[in-house]
Structures are given as structure tokens and as C-alpha cells.
Symmetry: C2
Subunit: 202 residues, 2 copies
């Protein structure tokens, strides 16, 4: 799966260039999803031909940047304790996740415009699966709702997280409040509903 196995060999020099390019791509695309290849080249402080020597197309570069961001996120999220009450576990997961999502929201947007939907799903498989298992467990524990499909809950959490990123970027939501607001919102979404909602057919 990793790029190491496929390539026969690579000089340490090249390795460093690739790292610089991917890092610059992540940073640049996370600021401006419409960033051009030249922008990334300049940010990386590297020659244009060097970039195209390692990434044949812009699409490949965007994919590499997104994959790198997700891999970094995985390293952080792998340390989150997901045992015990599923609600508490979800809170911990969200508190570790939201800032990651906020940082890479623009990058994800850039990737969505370039990569096919199926590839995007593949790349997000790991975090999606983690949340999936947590929600299923919470359902078995009886603390999460079962009247809505799991995929909907998972994706809605994503939409809320990306929405929060947008709110922060627009200056409407303070980063200090974001964690609390996000946790409260998502917990409400997945919790078992109390009544049937309102006076219903009163």
C-alpha cells in the first residue's frame, strides 16, 4: 500500500524533496483550495520540474497531500481511548478530531473537486470505520439511537465538523468554544430521542 514497496529504490535526496512538496501542498491547499501548482512549488521552495518529476499530475499531488493529512490524523486518533461508555468515548474522539478536520477542511474541498467520489471514500475509510464501530457499540449499549441509519449518523457528523470549520474560518465561532459546541451538537444527534418530538399529532 505504502509508496516504499512499489518503488525499486529512491535517493535520500528525492525523499526529502517529496516530503517538502507534500508538506507545502498540505499547507497551501489548506489555505486556498484553488491553489495552483506554481503556488505549491513556490511554497515548497523547489523547482517546478522537481515536482513534476515525482507527481505526474496535479491530481496525484492533491491525493498525496490528502493521504498525508489523513495519515497524520490517524496517528493522533489511534491513541484515543474508545473504551467504556460510548458517549464518553465519542466526546474524547470528537475533542481530538475537530481541530484536525478544521485544519484540513479546505484540503478536503480541493480533493473533492479533483478526485472521484469512490477514491475519497477509500481514503476516509479508516476514520469512518472508527466512528462506525463506536456508533454500533453505543447502539448495543442502548445509549445511541437506532431509528436512523448508521451511515447517516456518520456522514452527518462529518458535515457538522466541516460546518464548524467553516464557522471558525468565517470568524463566527471561536476556537475556544468549538469543542464544547461540536460535542454538544453531535451528542444530541446520536443520542436516543426522548419523546416522539413535539406534540406530534396532537
Amino acid at each position: 500500500m505504502s509508496a516504499d514497496t512499489a518503488r525499486p529504490r529512491r535517493r535520500a535526496d528525492a525523499e526529502r524533496s517529496i516530503a517538502r512538496i507534500v508538506t507545502a501542498a498540505r499547507a497551501t491547499l489548506s489555505t486556498d483550495p484553488h491553489a495552483t501548482v506554481d503556488d505549491i512549488v513556490k511554497a515548497a521552495g523547489v523547482g517546478r520540474m522537481t515536482l513534476y518529476g515525482h507527481f505526474r499530475t496535479r491530481q496525484e499531488l492533491v491525493e498525496a497531500a490528502l493521504a498525508d493529512a489523513l495519515r497524520a490524523g490517524e496517528e493522533t486518533l489511534a491513541h484515543v481511548d474508545l473504551t467504556g461508555d460510548a458517549r464518553d468515548a465519542l466526546t474524547r474522539l470528537l475533542e481530538s478530531s475537530w481541530s484536525l478536520v478544521a485544519e484540513s477542511a479546505a484540503l478536503v474541498e480541493a480533493a473533492q473537486g479533483v478526485l472521484p467520489a469512490g477514491r475519497m471514500r477509500e481514503l476516509h475509510a479508516a476514520p469512518a470505520e472508527r466512528l462506525n464501530e463506536l456508533i454500533e457499540r453505543g447502539r448495543r449499549q442502548g445509549v445511541f439511537r437506532t431509528d436512523l441509519p448508521v451511515f447517516w449518523l456518520i456522514n452527518t457528523v462529518h458535515y457538522v465538523l466541516h460546518g464548524a470549520a467553516e464557522e471558525i474560518r468565517a470568524g463566527r465561532l471561536d476556537s475556544a468554544d468549538a469543542g464544547r459546541v461540536i460535542v454538544a451538537t453531535v451528542q444530541a444527534i446520536v443520542a436516543v430521542p426522548v419523546g416522539t418530538g413535539g406534540t406530534a399529532s396532537a
Copy 2:
């Protein structure tokens, strides 16, 4: 405010062309947010110069298309009964809103990439204000939560609606289920939370 007052006069011919163009722009951009001017011209069955005779730039055209979609939406939503229990009113509003949002989701996306954020807010002022008043009323009734800022609740509803549109477009969510799922989700978001959430600091 309306375009009639500004223009000194316009031939009935032109009026019809503009209507055809705006309608075609709405339909085309709602299918593909990246639709080109030529695509819209072809869909409208009108000459390219005719379009540029009425809309000086593509941005103007997108704005007109979005404004038209929102105006049509307003006509529908104005008839929704928002009296009585705020929860029931919200359900009625959502059931009338979600399909409108789903239809124009791509159009909104197209506009977001072209129009400044402030202009987008202005155009969405009417539906946002309607939801704002409803939420504030529900708070006074004690049926909606007060621990989260109103703007957050409003915008989160938008994000959920757009997310639902995306799920439908991707074929994961059935249109027949959409209403129920959306209502259940949004009601959960705005409802007064029961416990403090989970075992908390147990």
C-alpha cells in the same frame, strides 16, 4: 429593489429571453455547479450574445439564478404555518424546505465559489431570518436549547440539509426517507438536552 424599477424600459422580447436564460441557468447549475456559460446558452436555446447582452459577466448570471431560486423558495415557504408549538412548526418548515434545498444545492455551491460571502448572506437573509425567529420562539417556549448560540443552530441546520442533498445525490439516502431522517436529526439538534451527556466526569 426589484429589477423593474431600475431599468427605464424593456421590450417584452427581452423579458422572455431573460426568463429563459435564468431558468436554464438554474436547471443547469443545479445539475453541474461547474457548468460553463456555453452550457447554459445551449440549455436556454439562445444566442451567446443575447446572454451577454443581459448579464455582463458569469458572476452576474449565477447571482441572478440563485436569487431566482431563493425567490421561488420564498413563495413556497411563506405559506407554511409557523404558529403553535415551535417543534411542530419546525417539522412543517423542514418538510417544506428540504426538497427545495436538495434541488438547488449544486447551485448554491456554484454561487459560493463566485460570489463573496457577504453577498451570499444577504441573499439567504430571508430564510435565515425565518428560521431565526422560529428558534428564538422555541427557546422562549422552553422547548429548544439555549446552551448553544442561535447562529450555530441555524447554520448547522443548513449544513445538515445540504448534507442530506449530497446523500440523496450519491444514492445513499432515499428521497422517501429523507424527510423523516432530516426532521429527526434537526429536532434532536435543537431540542433541550436531557442529561449533561453521558456519564460525564464519572
